[in-house]
């Protein structure tokens, strides 16, 4: 077989990437063998169905992807630092901004949020696991398969290069003849199925598995946000599934859905993409709102202000999120009426969002605010995100958008929404729930240092882009002339991005440092928090709660602490838990290879692996697995070891 088809050649950076991938894989394999950890890996991680471990794996994957996407970003900023810079050529630059977008949204923001969801939601509602633990593992391994498939495109066959939006006809076989966009359609499809399953799983979990007494209107705000997010996932992701399937047909089987001839319609892709794509923005932002609500309430030592209007506004946002997609292409020429309609629906989203901002401010009011690292991120979110919000309203005005569309102004806007919105939130949540996952807090000094680097340098990086946009600089240009006058502000943005990178390096160093030196937390409640997840031990035993908590109001754990309401009544009984299984992992591996063979149109192996998928599904269908019980003695022993006081 001809290897030329697979290997990307002629770029020092790609050779470096190949070498580093090989070295890293070897290091992992040798390390696992040397430390005799293969069995441990398999038993404790690869086959786990425990929501907490799956959550940790999601977050590790998200952090890795953050660095992949971050390196892409730094390369782009380096290329744009000076006019007529020769660091990257057009093709390479196009691949990099495409993968940056896809990876940051789908393989960084999404898994980071889903990871936190996994860890926190069952604990917040007093459940032992999610509704379908095995399905949860399938979700994770499908996500992993998709993410890995997408990432190898850089060195095997070439990355997609038509932007993360993959507009047709640019992304068609005619204008993107490499396998890059095959990777796009297949890898996103596989990961997308995983996300859809997660949505189903968490809706059922939240609706059916809450502890006794936890009515819907007593749920913590993060749980509410996740419930609403999962409903959006349920309605939005099938659209992506369909769009990607049509794309696959166009690119691999001679379909003509989006082509320029034979009745194909390029605008159909743009519509389908954004019917999914705009709700997707809220899929990553609503859980962030939930995280901020938890953190701001905890560190103000107050309950959340305007709980009901917080819930109502999130429901309103979720409905509106499906009515605004055409604002991504006002310039497509659908006339003043249509543009007017979408302008108004888009601006309407500002209303419930504004309600939330004021409710947070009034939660802070009359509080006793302590400035911990997670709180700093949450507080920085308010003023920075508001800039993103108001520029969003500006972009919503169709007449003005004709001047902002496709420019750096837009780029600045969505980074002002997504970074303080989603990225700050997942970092804040990561610091906040870290002691719950691992039993110790991250170092506060290093945490704050990283925060200041990130918060300040974020603004230095992205604020200049507003002006560049108004001055006529479009997005996705790999170079610009000196005469354009874009040079100085671009240089400033590049300097900022270096500071941003330093911040993230400090953050990771903090994880390493804290693993080695941070004092262990024995209370299970290091922040003096309010919700149920803090009422059990840290790290959490696999069954979560020795006795199912009995909820009598909102902020149940706070009430238990302040008013001595007993949270755990009754005696310990044997706990029914699901068994581990290797099937989800194997299914993920098969899906990875199925995807790979499809990308390269290798039909025979693709059919073989496709049959493999069906066999795996059949195997699961005919399997009898009733789980197992943890005995009372074992629970008492575990509780004693963890210094439990609930017994």
């Amino acid at each position: 077989m001809n290897l030329d088809k697979f290997l990307v050649k002629g770029e020092p950076m790609i050779y470096a990437a190949m070498v580093s991938i090989v070295v890293a894989s070897l290091a992992i394999l040798i390390g696992l063998t040397y430390f005799k950890k293969w069995g441990y890996m398999w038993r404790e991680w690869l086959t786990t169905v425990d929501h907490k471990k799956i959550g940790v794996m999601y977050i590790i994957a998200a952090l890795l992807m953050l660095f992949r996407g971050g390196v892409d970003a730094l390369l782009m900023r380096a290329q744009l630092a000076m006019p007529e810079n020769g660091l990257l050529d057009a093709q390479h630059y196009n691949e990099i901004f495409t993968t940056h977008g896809v990876i940051m949204i789908l393989f960084m923001a999404m898994p980071f949020i889903i990871g936190l969801m996994n860890i926190v939601i069952p604990l917040q509602i007093g459940a032992r696991d999610v509704a379908f633990p095995r399905l949860n593992a399938v979700s994770f391994w499908l996500f992993m398969a998709g993410a890995m498939l997408f990432n190898i495109s850089f060195v095997v066959g070439g990355s997609p290069d038509a932007g993360w939006t993959a507009y047709f006809p640019l992304a068609s076989l005619e204008y993107s003849p490499t396998v890059g966009n095959n990777y796009y359609s297949i890898a996103l499809q596989i990961a997308g199925i995983g996300t859809l399953l997660t949505g189903v799983n968490f809706i059922v979990t939240i609706l059916k598995m809450r502890a006794p007494g936890m009515k819907l209107m007593r749920m913590p705000m993060f749980t509410w946000s996740v419930l609403i997010t999962c409903v959006i996932i349920l309605f939005a992701f099938p659209v992506l599934t369909v769009a990607l399937a049509l794309m696959m047909f166009d690119r691999m089987f001679g379909g003509q859905f989006f082509t320029m001839a034979n009745g194909g319609m390029d605008m159909l892709w743009a519509n389908l993409f954004w019917v999914w794509g705009h709700p997707e923005v809220y899929i990553v932002i609503l859980p962030a709102f939930g995280i901020y609500s938890e953190i701001i309430s905890t560190f103000s030592k107050k309950n959340l202000y305007g709980y009901k209007s917080m819930v109502v506004s999130m429901v309103a946002i979720s409905l509106l999120s499906f009515l605004v997609w055409a604002h991504h292409f006002y310039t497509m020429g659908h006339g003043a009426m249509v543009n007017g309609f979408f302008s108004i629906t888009t601006m309407a989203i500002a209303i419930p969002t504004g309600v939330k901002i004021f409710n947070w401010l009034f939660t802070l009011r009359k509080g006793r605010i302590s400035f911990t690292t997670p709180m700093l991120y949450s507080l920085a979110f308010i003023p920075i995100f508001t800039i993103g919000g108001v520029t969003g309203v500006m972009l919503a005005m169709a007449s003005a958008d004709y001047q902002y569309h496709n420019t750096m102004f837009l780029v600045a806007h969505f980074h002002y929404v997504l970074i303080p919105g989603t990225v700050f939130a997942v970092i804040a949540g990561f610091h906040y729930w870290f002691p719950k996952m691992f039993g110790f807090r991250l170092n506060e000094k290093l945490g704050k240092l990283a925060f200041w680097f990130i918060a300040i340098c974020f603004n230095i990086t992205f604020f200049p882009l507003f002006f560049l946009g108004l001055n006529g600089m479009t997005r996705r240009m790999y170079t610009y002339s000196e005469g354009s006058g874009f040079g100085p502000l671009n240089m400033l943005a590049t300097i900022g991005s270096v500071g941003l990178a330093i911040g993230f390096v400090i953050l990771v160093y903090n994880v390493y440092w804290s693993f080695r030196y941070a004092p262990r937390d024995t209370t299970g409640d290091p922040w003096d928090a309010r919700t149920l997840e803090w009422s059990t031990h840290s790290p959490v035993p696999e069954y979560n709660f020795a006795i199912t908590p009995n909820v009598k109001g909102m902020d149940a754990f706070w009430a238990a602490k302040k008013e001595n309401q007993p949270l755990y009544e009754g005696k310990i009984e044997p706990i029914h838990m699901p068994n581990n299984s290797g099937q989800p992992f194997i299914l993920g591996v098969i899906f990875f290879f199925l995807g790979f063979f499809l990308v390269f149109s290798m039909w025979v192996p693709a059919i073989v692996t496709g049959v493999g998928v069906v066999i795996m599904l059949a195997w699961r269908s005919f399997e009898r697995d009733h789980g197992r019980h943890i005995s009372v003695e074992e629970i008492i022993e575990t509780e004693r070891k963890l210094g439990g006081d609930t017994v």
Partner: protein
Amino acid sequence: MKKRGPLFLLFISVVLLLSGCSSNLLVLDPKGPVARTQSNTIIFSMIVMAVILLVVYILYVFVLTKYRATKANEGYEPPHEEGNKWLELTWTLIPVIIVIVLSVVTVRTTNAVEKVPAGYDNEKPLVIYAASSNWKWHFSYPEEGIETVNYVNIPTHRPVEFRLYAYGPIASFWVPQLGGQKYAMSDMVNTLNLVAESPGSFMGKNSNFSGKGFAHMEFEVLGMSPTDYTKWVDDVKKTAPKLTETEFDKLLNTELVGRKSYSSTHLSFRPAPEGENAGHHHGKANSTDNMDNMNMDDMDMSNMDHSQHE
């Protein structure tokens, strides 16, 4: 907290930049009525947004300074607050009013920029077809019977109707100082009405990513007085070569070309996708199935009659 310092600075710098140096930014330095409407809309919205930001920031600074944990308020137990109906209603209704105001402005200005600018609606617009291809712009003047590549000269104070379409990926036709952009697509024609009110050179570009040569898809719009314009048209007619079909195909297949002028247009043998030539005429789709054929559509259309543009 220290956080507010840099943010406040940023905010002040926005206000300063808007009031003082706005003339440096192309979008806020309009040279025609369409861009002026847009620039005014943008500045109006910026002022509204600045007021909103100010309210949020003042409240933010206030709560963070007043309610931070200090040694002095060690024993302070924050109260339990469910919320306040009237306050919550206030910060729902005021944004509703703001959105209504902005909606009215948006709908009116969007209507305005879609039409021929007010004051010019009685004049017969100059029609120019602007077609993108990888990676250049073709401008056809059907009335004058001339065609240019990568530059377009227009008379000042006369409405120009740009009819946009594409050979290949979606492009977006944008001349910031004359007015906002619109997509050029392969299967339909979009209309963009612009007027230049002062002579001069304006930067135009494709703003929608369309592949490798995208960053080089710039063109110059030269606004010239009507007499200069007529002179230039006559000049091109006299001196420039005819645009033949072979020459046009060669142009389409050349990735980057400089400026070109021709004394005939490609519309006769390669009509724009409008009217009967628009896309989505499923029944009439040509028989070519070969996806590798770059110029598959339009192939069988060359024998149709499009003399109306001649």
